[in-house]
């Protein structure tokens, strides 16, 4: 009559076995360490980069929700100022009262022909409420020299690129010619109070930031704006916010209104936002490679311990227990490697998350809303997850050597 099977203290045995060959354990764990560190930092980096793009896009282009006159977007190439949102200030106040809305900001966006010191260039006129935009467009962060223009004054913050091409600097004058809301020719002479640097060349070579009231006057908008941007607490809730905004705006704008969340405005941004999920494939491949290293080193360990497994089998250890023991060893070593990797990856991600990574060179080559300084966004979940995943991957990888160990015949194993 056989004795009832006694449950083995697998984790304790595995922990003890992991210490028997520190060098081999370190080699096995190092593969998991590298993978876990890459996982933690990589996720923080990807989240930071995608967040940067979505955030910059929402701040400078789309809002969380954007309200425009119907037809504006299909004619966007010409920025048709005659298709404006009338009574923008009153509508913005009303939208600001919606639950979850942090700000509703009227903006003016129009093409302008700019005359500087004897040269003409096309420019992008941006009429902003400079006080309300401090946390959104953040014009104050773009002042490279001089100061921001003041509301009520014919002043402009010119992008460094366009200012250089026009041959003007702080204190000089620019003349802007625009097509007004009545489709006639309008214009204004403005004093350059500052030069702006966004790090986004397509902006720096064109932007002309003027106080909202000056842009409205120049374009005969009479209190209107070409768009109204609504910001909620969370960009992820933009679609629900768009529904609430739509209910307020409906029938308020003659000719109809376009109310779109940032996701509905740009396919590219939608793709970017979902690219994080696609990165899962990369992380899985990384873990697979770490797992292959674990398979190799643990196979070596199993071969070296053939006599030991033979003895254990001779003493009645079941095959399942042998597999479980080897898998537990793999999992323990994986957890050790994962913990070290998570610590290293976290340290790098947290440090770079504070100082940022400068991609100015890359930003110069792309025409996307992208702040050239990327801050990796570290998270506890990534760090803990990488320990769990590292342990699980190593445990799974140990199934192969475990299976090999379990198949050893006691008599044969003892002869080796």
């Amino acid at each position: 009559m056989s004795e009832p099977h006694r449950r083995l203290p697998l984790l304790r045995l595995a922990w003890r076995n992991a210490h028997r060959s520190v060098r081999r354990t370190a080699l096995t764990a190092s593969a998991v360490t590298v993978a876990a560190a890459a996982l933690v930092f990589g996720q923080a980096y990807v989240r930071g980069t995608l967040g940067n793009m979505v955030d910059t896009y929402a701040r400078t282009e789309s809002g969380h929700v954007r309200v425009r006159r119907e037809g504006f977007t299909t004619r966007e190439r010409s920025l048709p100022t005659h298709l404006s949102v009338p009574g923008a200030a009153a509508l913005a106040r009303e939208l600001s009262g919606l639950p979850g809305v942090r700000a509703a900001l009227p903006r003016v966006r129009a093409f302008a022909l700019v005359d500087g010191a004897g040269a003409n260039r096309p420019g992008l006129l941006l009429g902003l409420d400079l006080a309300l935009e401090r946390d959104y467009w953040r014009p104050q962060a773009m002042v490279a020299s001089g100061r921001l223009p003041l509301a009520g004054r014919a002043e402009v913050l010119a992008g460094e690129g366009i200012a250089r091409r026009l041959g003007v600097g702080v204190g000089d004058s620019l003349t802007l010619l625009v097509q007004t809301a009545h489709r006639s020719l309008g214009g204004l002479r403005l004093v350059v109070t500052g030069l702006g640097r966004s790090g986004m060349p397509f902006l720096d070579n064109a932007m002309l930031i003027v106080p909202l009231d000056q842009a409205q006057g120049m374009l005969d908008l009479e209190g209107g704006a070409t768009e109204l941007l609504v910001y909620g607490a969370d960009a992820g809730e933009a679609d629900a916010l768009a529904g609430a905004v739509r209910r307020v705006v409906e029938n308020r704008i003659s000719g109809g209104a376009e109310v779109r969340s940032w996701r509905e405005q740009s396919q590219l941004m939608r793709l970017m936002a979902s690219a994080g999920a696609a990165m899962g494939v990369v992380w899985a491949l990384m873990l697979l490679m770490a797992g292959l290293v674990v398979v190799n080193t643990m196979l070596m360990a199993v071969m070296e311990r053939t006599r030991e497994f033979g003895t254990q089998a001779a003493l009645g250890m079941r095959r399942g227990d042998v597999v479980r023991l080897v898998v537990a060893e793999g999992a323990v070593i994986g957890a050790l490697g994962g913990a070290v990797g998570a610590a290293v990856g976290s340290a790098v991600a947290l440090y770079l998350g504070r100082v940022g990574i400068d991609f100015s060179g890359f930003a110069r080559a792309i025409a996307l809303p992208f702040d050239p300084i990327v801050y990796p966004a570290w998270s506890w979940a990534d760090a803990l997850g990488s320990v769990v995943l590292g342990s699980a991957a190593a445990g799974l990888a140990a199934l192969v050597p475990g299976w090999r160990a379990a198949r050893l015949q006691p008599a044969e194993a003892l002869r080796t």
Binding site: N120, R121, P122, L177, Q179, S184, L185
Partner: protein, 252 residues
């Protein structure tokens, strides 16, 4: 072209009016006749520019213009009120704009030359360029045809110098009155940029002029533009000071 390269050239595109000629002239002779007809000592014109928007709206602007020879012209918008007082001066290939609300003249150059003149399908470049068809273009006769019942010769023109607004043109020239009745304007790439239809051809002194031009800028899909001469007088006295920056900015 007469009147105002700025205006009918606005007109400059149209150009070419002419005296009667033989039906068997060469392409080169056609161009020479057009150029000869375009050279007028002085002209004063009142005209309107109507921009037709997709969706049915129209915007009508009226203006008066003065031109002396082929190199000097001055134009002032008189209506609607928000455009009244906007002025343009051309001296040779140089062009300036003055808007009362800006209070300063601006030289139109570079990128701005490609923009729509007062939001129309004519560009500032169209209004400021002053090509001599015979000197600036090589021409071949593509075929003979009829337009609105009139005999025309279809010319294919290729620019001889690189800095012209249009590298290629195809022009339908009335072979009795030597007026272009239709013109297609192309970029160097061969892409069609503008299509112009000229009509309401009237006799003025010993010349024929198109009093109506319809222009469609293929790149500006929102609009088409009609240019219509309301009144044209040739040989009028135009004071020299009209063609100065001081006059442009002060109006006197």
């Amino acid at each position: 072209m007469t009147s105002t390269r700025m205006t009918v050239g606005l007109v400059a595109l149209a150009l070419a009016c002419a005296r009667a000629g033989s039906a068997q002239v060469t392409a080169r002779e056609v161009l020479e006749r057009l150029d000869a007809n375009m050279t007028i000592r002085t002209v004063r014109m009142r005209a309107e520019l109507i921009v037709h928007y997709r969706g049915g709206d129209d915007r009508t602007m009226t203006f008066e213009s003065w031109e002396r020879g082929t190199d000097q012209s001055f134009l002032e918008f008189t209506s609607p009120a928000r455009d009244a007082g906007s002025r343009f001066l051309r001296q040779g290939d140089a062009m300036w704009i003055y808007l009362p609300r800006v209070g300063k003249s601006v030289r139109i150059q570079g990128h701005m030359l490609r923009q729509g003149f007062m939001g129309s399908d004519f560009s500032y470049g169209d209004a400021s360029e002053n090509p001599s068809m015979a000197n600036d273009y090589d021409a071949v006769i593509e075929r003979r045809d009829t337009v609105d019942g009139r005999q025309v010769v279809v010319l294919s023109l290729t620019a001889r110098r690189p800095n012209l607004s249009y590298s290629r043109r195809r022009t339908w020239v009335d072979t009795e009155r030597w007026v272009p009745l239709r013109e297609e304007l192309f970029a160097a790439s061969g892409r069609l940029l503008k299509t112009m239809t000229l009509s309401d051809v009237r006799r003025l002194a010993d010349r024929w002029y198109p009093f109506r031009i319809e222009l469609d800028d293929a790149l500006q899909t929102e609009t088409t533009t009609t240019f219509r001469v309301l009144e044209m007088r040739l040989g009028v006295a135009v004071p020299s000071e009209v063609f100065t920056l001081r006059y442009l900015e002060s109006g006197r």
